[in-house]
Amino acid sequence: MSEMENNNKKIPLLLNGINILVAEDNILNQKIANFILKKQGAIVQSVLNGKEAIELLIGSMHFDVVLMDIQMPGMDGFKATEYIRKDLKNNIPIIGLTADMLMSATDECMEAGMNACVCKPFDPKSLCDLILSVIKERNN
């Protein structure tokens, strides 16, 4: 293979074209999530709390997955997820974001209706794999 061909051989982006809604009140964590996701080709929209996430989900924008921080001011991730499941009857995959490495945090996420839970700060590869896995699960 020539050098030019080698240079043109691009590594496929893991999240190419996937629409992701990030609900996270900590700007620093929001920036990190956006960086990881956009680097892998995702289209990202960020909001600061659960209420804003719900407003976007009700609107005309299409999302494939939601990354939802658990603890946010206003409406937290648990309440927002319950609303999305019970009131909006929307089964969009939701991944809980938590700063606690406790099993109880995962349990609470699942009880609220989330599909999975991930601990911050994110490992880029694990986060992308998890996103693909919950989307695949939903499509099956």
Partner: protein, 130 residues
């Protein structure tokens, strides 16, 4: 006898690794950290010194804990975890005050290191302006 290994006051490894050493990105993250954490600590200090509102202390320590896990200032994350846990249990006000003092001390000690790392990664066009 071997000299003890000194742990750096600030560990930037996560943001360097995560961004593949993208200096512009590292600069932006440190800039955000320096904009948000002092304000967050000031809010926490006000809640601890002037109120007995454990709920606000718990929420504020939780909020700061997230940032302290991205750019790791030595000891800050563990102290915030402890403070959050005490505040959640609505107990240990004296220890919370001690933890706050320690957090403020640690952050002030780390500040010059944080600022130096920010400068090191500052994009050339911004350096030219300042």
């Amino acid at each position: 006898m071997e000299a003890p290994i000194e742990i750096p006051i600030v560990d930037f490894s996560f943001i360097y690794q995560m961004s593949d050493n993208d200096s512009v990105y590292v600069f932006e993250v440190i800039e955000l950290f320096l904009k948000n954490v002092p304000a967050g600590l000031a809010k926490l200090e006000d809640s601890v010194r002037n109120t007995d509102n454990f709920e606000i202390i718990q929420k504020q320590s939780h909020f700061l804990k997230s940032s302290a896990n991205v750019i790791k200032v030595r000891g800050m994350f563990d102290d915030l975890v402890r403070m959050e846990s005490l505040a959640r249990a609505k107990t240990g006000k004296e220890e919370i005050v001690e933890l706050l003092d320690k957090l403020l001390f640690l952050f002030n000690e780390a500040l010059p290191v944080l600022e130096a790392e920010r400068e090191k990664n500052k994009p050339k066009k911004l350096k030219a302006k300042s």
